[in-house]
């Protein structure tokens, strides 16, 4: 039997969950390919296919799926509903397989396993996820034991991945390290600036979509921490004055991370990256912005990206912000 190849688009939830999916599928003897780094062509094709009102990340996702069309036997477009029994994902994630299936033509079969354990009990929330993985695995093998082993291995991989992230690596570096690359930690001078850059993983770690915000900051000599570098306990402990948490996992994390960085006060500045038309962010960025007024000693900036974001515009804003923070720090 020839080995099946599953394509995983390098977009949206990729930056958080890819290591686990890859390790699970690899353990089952399935070949995993990803789409390449985002580029102009993908975006253009995505813009053509997706609805004009959708946000850039979704348009880009369409482009990524299209680029995998001839490379894989299956394309993995999971329906991420809820993974921690509390917070959901953006409705666009919930309907992602439907959007892909019903608007793109001539695609290989889509694997749309649903992951949902919302409002489940202590045990059920684990078994529900295991069930989803079994469902996914049974597409490739009938050997239950093999799936169980793969499930266990994938859990280990995810743990290792999270450890790498918490040691200060960014998702792309951590994925590379898991793939065998050497772990290089760049040493920053003692007095270098440290910014918290917040936002959804798919806004932050896709260098094309945000026109290289993180790279530019590094070049400006700024050390960057993100939500993914924080241990989960810190996020869970953040108290906020609102009756309800954010509904969406990434928003909830971003909001709590912002609260943490403001309260701890160890960073020199906070930048929030958001995409034009992002539904959840319309709520989140305003709440963070209002929160920031309570902490006037920490400069805060919102960077908005869309499919027309220009290199020059983003560079200028980042440079100006960095200069401002640097001067402020020297002055004090």
């Amino acid at each position: 039997m020839s080995v099946a190849t599953v394509g995983i688009p390098r977009a949206l939830a990729y930056y958080i969950y890819f290591p686990r999916w890859r390790s699970f599928l690899n353990e089952l003897g399935v070949n995993v390919v990803t789409s390449g780094l985002s580029n102009r062509q993908m975006l253009d094709e995505g813009v053509k296919e997706a609805l004009a009102e959708a946000c850039v990340p979704i348009k880009l996702y369409f482009g990524h799926v299209l680029s995998l069309k001839d490379k894989a036997d299956y394309i993995f477009v999971p329906r991420l509903y809820c993974l921690n029994s509390k917070t959901l994902y953006c409705p666009k994630f919930l309907g992602l397989p439907d959007m892909i299936k019903h608007s793109l033509n001539h695609l290989p079969p889509i694997i749309d396993t649903m992951f949902n354990n919302r409002y489940k009990g202590f045990l059920a929330r684990r078994t529900e996820l295991a069930k989803s993985f079994f469902q996914l695995g049974s597409k490739f093998t009938n050997d239950k034991l093999k799936i169980l082993k793969a499930f266990y291995r994938s859990l280990k991989t995810e743990q290792r991945y999270l450890e790498l992230l918490q040691s200060g690596l960014l998702p792309n570096q951590a994925i590379a390290v898991l793939g065998g690359a050497k772990n290089v930690n760049i040493a920053y001078p003692e007095d270098s600036l440290k910014f918290a850059v917040l936002g959804y993983p798919y806004h932050l770690y896709d260098d094309f979509i945000n026109v290289g915000v993180l790279t530019k900051l590094r070049r400006l000599g700024v050390q960057v921490v993100t939500t993914e570098n924080l241990p989960p306990g810190i996020l869970a402990r953040q108290k906020h004055p609102y009756p309800k948490d954010m509904f969406w996992t990434f928003s909830d994390r971003a909001f709590r991370a912002a609260l943490h960085f403001f309260r701890e006060g160890r960073v020199d500045g906070i930048i929030y990256v958001t995409a034009f038309g992002c539904g959840p962010d319309a709520m989140v960025y305003r709440l963070i912005e209002m929160e920031s007024k309570k902490y006037p000693h920490i400069p805060f900036m919102i960077l908005m990206i869309d499919e027309h974001s220009g290199e020059a515009g983003i560079s200028t804003r980042l440079e100006a912000f960095t200069d401002m923070v640097r001067r402020r720090k020297k002055g004090v």
């Binding site: 997706a50 609805l51 009102e53 959708a54 329906r79 509903y81 959901l88 994902y89 953006c90 409705p91 666009k92 919930l94 309907g95 439907d98 959007m99 019903h102 608007s103 649903m114 949902n116 609102y242 009756p243 309800k244 954010m246 509904f247 969406w248 034009f276 038309g277 992002c278 539904g279 959840p280 962010d281 319309a282 709520m283 960025y285 305003r286 709440l287 209002m290 007024k293």
Partner: protein, 368 residues
């Protein structure tokens, strides 16, 4: 003393007003959303919050100017943004320096204690729970009457002989229902309303098109937010059927197994199999049902950046092709103008009419 106000959503304010007054509160009736409402909302709301968020914020600010100090609204548990409206609104309003109470009702069966606490807070007349229950029931009765009357206007407007007659009568009967305070008066007002509407001279031979309206609840229910699309379509000789009424929606939300909801989700199964928040799944389901019932077309209304409706719109393109039913989508925002919308609607109705005539020509036996 509590001076209570609530979001304005179509005619529902008439029933809410009665309920709140019976519980012993002074009510500030929210004014019909105007240009100024929207301007206020846009000024203080996040840039790409959806249209209902902006209108609601504008309404709150206007009613606060009029003296309101308690805002009553509804919540939700995601993934639609509307569930977070209350807390973000409250925070923005506090940030502007207004001190108000925000009472946000969550699903009563899921949070019963929270629900009772909030009822107690609003219960200025210190009514017994039984009396509160009775008041809610009466409000519900009134809401049902209002919804039924509105449904009737959708049928009569396209057939009226004198343009604008239905809207005129409808405004009048809303006043009657507003003044009715007891069950008997409500029933009486309702029967009179039905009679008055049925008395409008109609043209029985007119070719009537049937169009379903689907989409997000707020822009469907509040005519000021959708540029009175029902009137515009009615005047073009289109009988509209709206997928959402407040009474139906409440019933569906309290009871997961309500018949309408189950059939609708069944119809959407092969397109969007799970609930994706808001009315995304329902929109697709209703389109399929309308196509099966032989409707001539469907109009989708959604606020700009509404996430569930973006998903359903993406899918609807293919639904429309498969079931051969034209779908016209409007993404509404603060820039939407009445003339532009009317032009698009006229063109759409023209197309539907031509399509229907072509069908009638080939099958002369089928007459509507």
């Amino acid at each position: 003393m509590l001076k209570v106000t609530f979001p304005r959503m179509g005619h529902s304010y008439i029933a809410f007003k009665m309920l709140m007054e019976e519980m012993g509160n002074e009510v500030v009736v929210p004014p019909r959303p105007s240009k100024r409402t929207l301007d206020l909302g846009v000024q203080h709301a996040p840039e790409f919050a959806c249209l209902p968020f902006k209108i609601l914020l504008g309404t709150y600010l206007e009613t606060i100017e009029m003296g309101a100090n308690t805002l009553v609204t509804s919540g939700g548990h995601g993934p639609c943004r509307a569930g977070l409206y209350a807390q973000v609104h409250h925070r923005i309003i506090q940030d502007l320096g207004h001190k108000v109470n925000m009472v946000c009702f969550e699903a009563p069966l899921r949070h019963p204690i929270d629900f009772l606490k909030k009822v107690n807070f609003l219960n200025s007349a210190r009514l017994s729970y039984r009396a509160v229950y009775q008041a809610i029931k009466k409000g519900w009765h009134k809401l049902k009457a209002l919804d039924n009357v509105e449904r009737l206007t959708h049928k009569i407007r396209p057939r009226e002989l004198v343009a604008g007659a239905t809207s005129k009568v409808y405004r009048q009967v809303q006043l009657w229902l507003d003044q009715a305070k007891t069950y008997q008066e409500i029933d009486e007002a309702y029967h009179e309303s039905v009679k008055a509407l049925n008395n409008i001279p109609q043209d029985p031979d007119r070719m009537i098109l049937k169009v379903g309206i689907i989409g997000e609840i707020y822009v469907l229910l509040e005519p000021a937010s959708n540029q009175e699309i029902e009137e515009v379509l009615g005047n073009l000789g289109v009988e509209v059927e709206r997928s959402i009424f407040l009474t139906g929606w409440t019933r569906d939300n309290l009871n997961k197994n309500s018949k309408d909801l189950v059939t609708c989700h069944e119809a959407a199964k092969s397109w969007i199999p799970v609930a994706i928040g808001g009315h995304g799944q329902d929109s697709v389901g209703h389109t399929v049902l309308y196509a099966q019932q032989g409707f001539d077309g469907v109009v989708q209304l959604a606020p700009f950046t509404c996430i569930p409706e973006i998903v359903s719109k993406t899918v609807l393109t293919r639904v429309s092709r498969k079931y051969n039913i034209p779908v016209l989508t409007f993404f509404l925002d603060e820039q939407t103008g009445k003339a532009g919308m009317a032009t698009r609607l006229e063109a759409f109705v023209d197309l539907l009419r031509r399509k229907k005539l072509a069908r009638l020509d080939t099958h002369p036996a089928v007459t509507s």
